[in-house]
């Protein structure tokens, strides 16, 4: 009996190109590392643990199909033909989740609805100009990365999808890459989620580098009272959703999901809130992580554009972080030095991670300083500005063709 044919996961390693073999082994090890780092909470565990498992399993579980073709029984991300899809749906175990929830952006919309349910608009509505100014400055990476990506040889669609990593919002990256560069959505989305997970480690250094210790510990002095009622937030969510859908219909699914989440939170329907927050959001995040991992098979991920994407991801998130802190400084000077510029980092979105990072860095200097509420306002505003920019990119880029 041919042992290599019996144990096909190993057998396929012997017939594939050396580049793919090295890629598969590396991805198995990276998958294991992601699970370990997720469990240790160095990386975001909610996404990284299922993603790591999926990544290891898909690269280990390769087998021979007809005519020595190598594949797996988990998923085929690139199938487009209807008849082939019907066959594959019956063979590949996770294909139905991918086809009916992932590739049509349903998961992105559910995660966005969940973000809406956990978002409190009080500080955004009490300080709309401050929050918007910080959030729009924190989109700098999204703008700077686009021409750099084009100069590196990416098509406008691919460049825009890579640039949206700077918006620091996973569902938006998934949504835009599927719309603008479906051929690259796997590497772009995987890189985006990996880098977003690394924000926990990188942004504190950026804050310490750009904001002096005496400014980091300062309290925000304001005379404005934050007394926004649930009714006011509910009305805003309906009006803003309608107006933004009129302006940017390309981003309507995401806008609807986000504002619907907010409306459900503010309407106080506990059963809906629990259903979306406890069930939908966690289920969608789990399957999102798992799908991202399963999509990381060596044949798909070893795309020649992966290196530029790795560089562009760092540029996008780094420049957005710097832009956010610049926004924090602008508000600091406008408010006669009564504002903590550290809050600027929260404008990068990535709710609630960046707001927590800002609070952590401030508390490390002065424990009694609480800025989390202002940071959450800027962070939620970051989600909105990222959605606006994504909507503009998705509308404008196809016009260039």
């Amino acid at each position: 009996m041919d042992l290599l044919y019996l144990f096909q996961g190993i057998g396929t390693l012997c017939v594939q190109e050396p580049k793919i073999v090295i890629g598969r082994i590396a991805l198995v090890l990276i998958g294991m590392a992601l699970v370990f780092l997720g469990a240790k909470k160095t990386l975001e565990p909610l996404v990284m643990i299922p993603m790591g498992f999926g990544m290891s399993a898909v690269n280990a579980g390769m087998l021979f199909f007809d005519a020595n073709k190598v594949g797996n029984l988990l998923i085929d991300p690139l199938v487009t033909e209807t008849t082939a899809l019907m066959t594959i749906l019956q063979i590949d175990a996770f294909q139905p989740i991918y086809t009916f929830a992932f590739s049509n952006n349903l998961i992105a919309c559910i995660v966005f609805m969940g973000i809406g349910v956990i978002s409190d608009l009080s500080y955004l509505m009490a300080f709309p100009f401050t929050s918007m100014l910080i959030a729009i400055c924190a989109e700098l990476g999204t703008i700077v990365t686009y021409p750099i990506a084009v100069a590196m040889g990416l098509t406008p669609g691919q460049a825009a999808a890579a640039a949206i990593v700077g918006g620091a919002d996973g569902p938006l990256v998934l949504f835009s890459s599927l719309m603008l560069a479906p051929e690259l959505f796997v590497p772009i989305t995987v890189i985006a989620y990996l880098y977003l997970s690394l924000c926990y480690g990188g942004y504190p250094f950026l804050i310490r580098l750009l904001v002096p210790k005496e400014l980091r510990g300062m309290k925000v002095k304001t005379t404005t009272k934050v007394n926004v009622t649930s009714q006011e937030k509910l009305i805003f969510s309906v009006v803003a959703c309608t107006v933004l859908c009129f302006l940017l219909p390309a981003a309507a699914p995401l806008l609807l999901s986000f504002f619907l989440g907010i409306a459900i939170r503010e309407s106080g329907v506990t059963s809906y809130i629990n259903m979306i927050e406890s069930t939908f959001l966690y289920a969608a995040t789990f399957f999102l992580g798992l799908m991202l991992g399963i999509l990381c098979d060596a044949n798909t991920i070893l795309n020649p554009t992966i290196l530029p994407l790795l560089i562009l991801g760092v540029i996008a998130l780094g420049v957005s972080g710097i832009g956010g802190i610049i926004g924090g400084y602008i508000v600091y000077f406008i408010n006669h030095r009564q504002f903590n510029p550290t809050i600027g980092i929260a404008g990068v979105s990535c709710v609630p991670s960046t707001a927590k990072i800002a609070q952590h860095e401030v508390a490390a200097v002065k424990k009694s300083t609480i800025i989390i509420q202002f940071a959450m306002g800027a962070s939620i505003c970051g989600v909105l500005t990222s959605a606006i920019l994504t909507g503009i990119y998705i509308t404008v880029i196809p016009m260039l063709k």
């Binding site: 955004l124 509505m125 709309p128 100009f129 929050s131 918007m132 959030a135 729009i136 989109e139 703008i143 700077v144 686009y146 021409p147 084009v150 100069a151 406008p156 460049a159 640039a163 926004v228 009714q231 006011e232 009305i235 805003f236 009006v239 803003a240 107006v243 933004l244 302006l247 940017l248 909105l384 500005t385 606006i388 920019l389 503009i392 990119y393 404008v396 260039l400």
Partner: protein, 43 residues
Amino acid sequence: MQSISLALQIYGLSFIIAFLVAVMIKGLLFSIRHFSRDTSEKQ
């Protein structure tokens, strides 16, 4: 050069929309509070 110009235009447009959303928030809050005060005064 064309891509830089496009990126700047997109940034400008998003800045305007974000500013409009901020104005809309202020306008909505003002109207809601104004009309709810009117209603409570009449009662």
